[in-house]
C-alpha cells in the first residue's frame, strides 16, 4: 500500500503539470504573470495550514477547527489593533492565539483523551464564536497600509507576491523535518501504529500535542496573511476553508488512515486546486464547478488505493491458487 502512495504523490506532481497545461490552453489570460501571482496569493493560506494538517493526519489525527483558528487569529489582530496596540504586536498576538487554540485542541485530545474528529467540530464552533465575541458585528478595516501592501503586492521586480516567502520557507522546513529528522520518523511511526510507537520509546502524547500546536501556529500565520490580503479583520472570514485544506491534503497523497504522506504531494495538490480554480474562473465556469471538482478529487484520492489493493489481492490469490493446483498435479503424478 505504501508503494502505491509513493507513486500517487508523484502522480499529483504530474497532475499539477497537466492542470497548468490545461489552464494555458483554456484561456489566454491563464499563463500571464498577473494570473500566476493571483494563484499563488490565492492558495497561500491553505498551503500553510495544509503543511501542518498533513503532519496531523499522518499521525492519525485530524483538526476541523483550522478555519476558525485562522479567523480567530485575524479577529485577534483586529481586536488588538482597534485597542491601539501596535500592529506588529497585534500580528504576533494573532499567531500566539492560533498557537493557544491549537494547544487547547491538543489538550482535549491527548490529555482528556477525546476523539479529535468530534472535539474539533466543537472547537470549530467555539473559536468561531470567540471571533464574534471579539469583534461583534464590526469588522476592522483600517489597517496600516505598509503591511496591507505586503499582503497584496509583489516582490519588486518579480511577479511573485510577498506571501510566497512564508509559504516557501515553511514548506521547506516542513519537508525537511518530516522526511529528514527523527521527529518526522516519529510522526510516521505514530500514524502507522501508535501502540508500537509507545513501546518503542516514542513520546506519543507529547508529539501529538506538539502537532496540534503546530497546526494552531500555522493557522495563526495564515490568519495574519489573510488579514493583510483582504485588508480587513472580520469575524466571518475563511468559512469552510477547512474543507479545502483537508481536500488538498488527502488528494496530495496523505492517507486518511495515517502513516503515509509527503510534503511534496500536498504542495502539488494545493497548487493544482489553485490552478483549477483560476482556470475555471477564467473560462467563466462558475465557482460551483470547483466545489464539484474538489469533492470528486477527494473521493478519487480515497477510492484509488482501495481499487489497487483489491487488484493486488486478486492477483496474489490467483497466483497462489495456480501454485496449489500445480503442486497437486505434481503430487498426483
Amino acid at each position: 500500500m505504501s508503494r502505491f502512495h509513493i507513486t500517487w504523490d508523484k502522480g499529483v506532481g504530474l497532475f499539477l503539470v497537466f492542470t497548468i497545461l490545461l489552464g494555458t490552453f483554456s484561456s489566454e489570460y491563464f499563463a500571464t504573470t498577473s494570473n500566476l501571482t493571483f494563484i499563488i496569493r490565492d492558495v497561500a493560506e491553505i498551503a500553510i495550514i495544509a503543511l501542518a494538517m498533513a503532519y496531523l493526519i499522518i499521525a492519525g489525527e485530524i483538526d476541523l477547527s483550522v478555519a476558525s483558528m485562522l479567523s480567530l487569529s485575524s479577529a485577534t489582530i483586529g481586536f488588538l489593533y482597534r485597542a491601539e496596540v501596535p500592529f506588529e504586536v497585534a500580528m504576533v498576538g494573532g499567531v500566539l492565539v492560533g498557537l493557544l487554540a491549537g494547544l487547547f485542541n491538543g489538550f482535549l485530545v491527548t490529555v482528556l483523551g477525546l476523539p479529535s474528529l468530534a472535539v474539533t467540530i466543537a472547537t470549530l464552533a467555539l473559536y468561531r464564536g470567540m471571533c464574534w465575541i471579539l469583534l461583534g458585528n464590526k469588522p476592522v478595516n483600517q489597517l496600516p497600509s505598509e503591511w496591507v501592501n505586503l499582503g497584496y503586492s509583489q516582490i519588486p521586480g518579480t511577479f511573485l507576491p510577498w506571501t510566497i516567502i512564508p509559504v516557501v520557507v515553511l514548506a521547506g522546513l516542513a519537508w525537511f523535518v518530516l522526511h529528514g529528522t527523527r521527529f518526522g520518523r516519529w510522526v510516521f511511526a505514530i500514524g502507522v501504529n501508535s501502540q508500537a510507537a509507545e513501546f518503542s520509546g516514542i513520546p506519543v502524547r507529547r508529539v501529538k500535542l506538539a502537532l496540534f500546536g503546530f497546526t494552531g501556529i500555522m493557522s495563526g500565520i495564515a490568519g495574519v496573511i489573510y488579514t493583510l490580503r483582504f485588508a480587513s479583520s472580520s469575524p466571518d472570514g475563511a468559512v469552510g476553508y477547512e474543507l479545502g485544506v483537508i481536500a488538498a491534503v488527502l488528494f496530495g497523497g496523505v492517507s486518511i488512515a495515517g502513516g503515509i504522506g509527503t510534503i511534496w504531494g500536498v504542495i502539488s495538490a494545493v497548487l493544482s486546486l489553485g490552478v483549477i480554480r483560476s482556470a475555471l474562473q477564467l473560462i467563466d465556469f462558475s465557482a460551483n464547478a470547483l466545489l464539484v471538482v474538489s469533492g470528486s478529487l477527494l473521493l478519487i484520492s480515497v477510492i484509488a488505493p482501495q481499487v489497487t489493493d483489491y487488484v493486488r489481492n486478486l492477483r496474489s490469490t490467483v497466483s497462489t491458487t495456480k501454485q496449489i493446483q500445480k503442486n497437486e498435479r505434481v503430487n498426483h503424478e
Binding site: A118, L126, G136, L291, V302, I303
Partner: protein, 326 residues
C-alpha cells in the same frame, strides 16, 4: 419498577434535565421568559435540526457520520419550491426532494458500505459536490413565498392545539424511528455494528447492507426535512442549509449519541436539538449578545463529549486481581 429505574439511568435524562435547568434558570432571571411565544419559537426553531438529528443518529450509532446533510436539505427545499413555481404539484416536488435525498444517501452508502471508504471523507466530498451542483442549478435564484406550495406554507404557519405542525412532524418521526431502532432486528443490528464491528461480522449480521440502507434512510429523512425547512423559512436559496450539518452532529452528541458508536437513541438526539435551541433562546432572553451563541454551543459540545468519555471509562473491565473475588 425496573423500567422506571432504567428510565432514570438512561443517557437521555441528563440532557432533558439540562434543558429544564436552562429554561428554568432563565425563567428565574427573566420574568415571563417561558411564555407561549418562546415555546413556539422553540418548537419552530428546532424542527429542521431535530428531524436531521434523527437521521444522523442511524449513522452515528454505527460509528459513521454524514456531513452532507446541510447541502442536501437545502437543495431539497429548493427543489420543492422550484417544482411548484414551474407548475408542478406538491407531490412532484416532494418526490424530487425525497428522491434527491435517497440518491445522495445511496451514493454515500455505497461508497462507505461496499467500498469501505471512511464516512468522514465520503460525506465531506458529497457535501462539496451536492452544494456545487445545487449552486449551479439554482444560480442566484431564490424561492420566494409565492413559490412555496400552499400546503407547506400552511403547515409552517399553523398549529395543532398550540403546537406548530412542523414540530409535530419531527415528533412523529422520532417516535417512528425510535420504535424501529428498538423493536426491529435491523435497528438492533445498527447498534451491534457500532458496538463491535468485528463481532457483528462474525455473528452473521449483514453489515454492508445495514450500513448502506442506514445512509439511504438518512438521505430520505434529509429530503423530507427539506420540506420542513421550506415551511419554516418560507423561502430557499443556494445558502439554505449551509453549516447545518455541524449543528446536527452537535445535537446528537449532546443528546447522548456517542461518536464511539453503539449507544444513544433518537429520543436523545431530539432532546439534544431541543436543548441547543433552548440555549439559543435563553442567550437572547438573558441579554447576552447574540455573538456568544456559537462559542457557547461549541463549549457545550466539548463538555458533552468529555462527559460521555468520562462516563464510559468509569466502567472498568474486571481485572486480573478482581476476578478472583467471587
Amino acid at each position: 419498577m425496573r423500567s422506571l429505574k432504567n428510565l432514570v439511568r438512561a443517557r437521555e435524562l441528563p440532557v432533558f434535565a439540562a434543558f429544564l435547568i436552562v429554561m428554568g434558570g432563565t425563567s428565574l432571571a427573566v420574568p415571563h421568559f417561558f411564555s407561549g411565544k418562546v415555546a413556539i419559537d422553540l418548537f419552530l426553531g428546532v424542527a429542521v435540526i431535530a428531524i436531521l438529528a434523527v437521521g444522523q443518529t442511524f449513522v452515528i450509532v454505527m460509528r459513521h457520520i454524514d456531513l452532507s446533510v446541510g447541502s442536501t436539505v437545502g437543495f431539497s427545499a429548493f427543489l420543492i419550491g422550484d417544482a411548484y413555481s414551474k407548475g408542478m404539484g406538491l407531490g412532484t416536488g416532494m418526490f424530487l426532494a425525497i428522491g434527491l435525498g435517497l440518491l445522495v444517501g445511496a451514493m454515500n452508502g455505497f461508497l462507505v458500505a461496499y467500498l469501505k471508504l471512511p464516512s468522514l471523507v465520503v460525506t465531506l466530498a458529497s457535501l462539496y459536490i451536492v452544494r456545487g451542483i445545487f449552486n449551479e442549478f439554482a444560480t442566484g435564484q431564490t424561492i420566494i413565498e409565492s413559490e412555496v406550495p400552499p400546503a407547506i406554507n400552511w403547515l409552517g404557519l399553523n398549529r395543532f392545539f398550540g403546537i406548530p405542525y412542523l414540530f409535530l412532524i419531527g415528533f412523529a418521526l422520532v417516535i417512528i424511528a425510535g420504535f424501529v431502532m428498538k423493536r426491529s432486528r435491523a435497528g438492533r443490528d445498527l447498534y451491534a455494528i457500532g458496538s463491535n464491528p468485528q463481532a457483528a461480522e462474525l455473528a452473521g449480521i449483514p453489515v454492508a447492507r445495514r450500513v448502506f440502507f442506514a445512509f439511504v434512510a438518512t438521505g430520505g429523512i434529509t429530503g423530507l426535512a427539506g420540506a420542513v425547512l421550506l415551511g419554516r423559512f418560507n423561502s430557499a436559496n443556494p445558502n439554505s442549509g449551509l453549516g447545518l450539518e455541524l449543528l446536527v452532529v452537535a445535537a446528537c452528541v449532546v443528546g447522548g449519541v456517542t461518536i464511539a458508536g453503539g449507544a444513544g437513541t433518537v429520543y436523545g438526539a431530539f432532546i439534544g436539538a431541543i436543548l441547543l435551541q433552548g440555549i439559543t433562546l435563553s442567550i437572547g432572553a438573558l441579554g447576552i449578545p447574540q455573538f456568544w451563541q456559537q462559542a457557547v454551543n461549541g463549549s457545550l459540545i466539548i463538555g458533552a463529549i468529555a462527559l460521555d468519555r468520562y462516563l464510559s471509562t468509569r466502567v472498568k473491565t474486571t481485572t486480573i486481581m478482581g476476578s478472583k473475588n467471587e
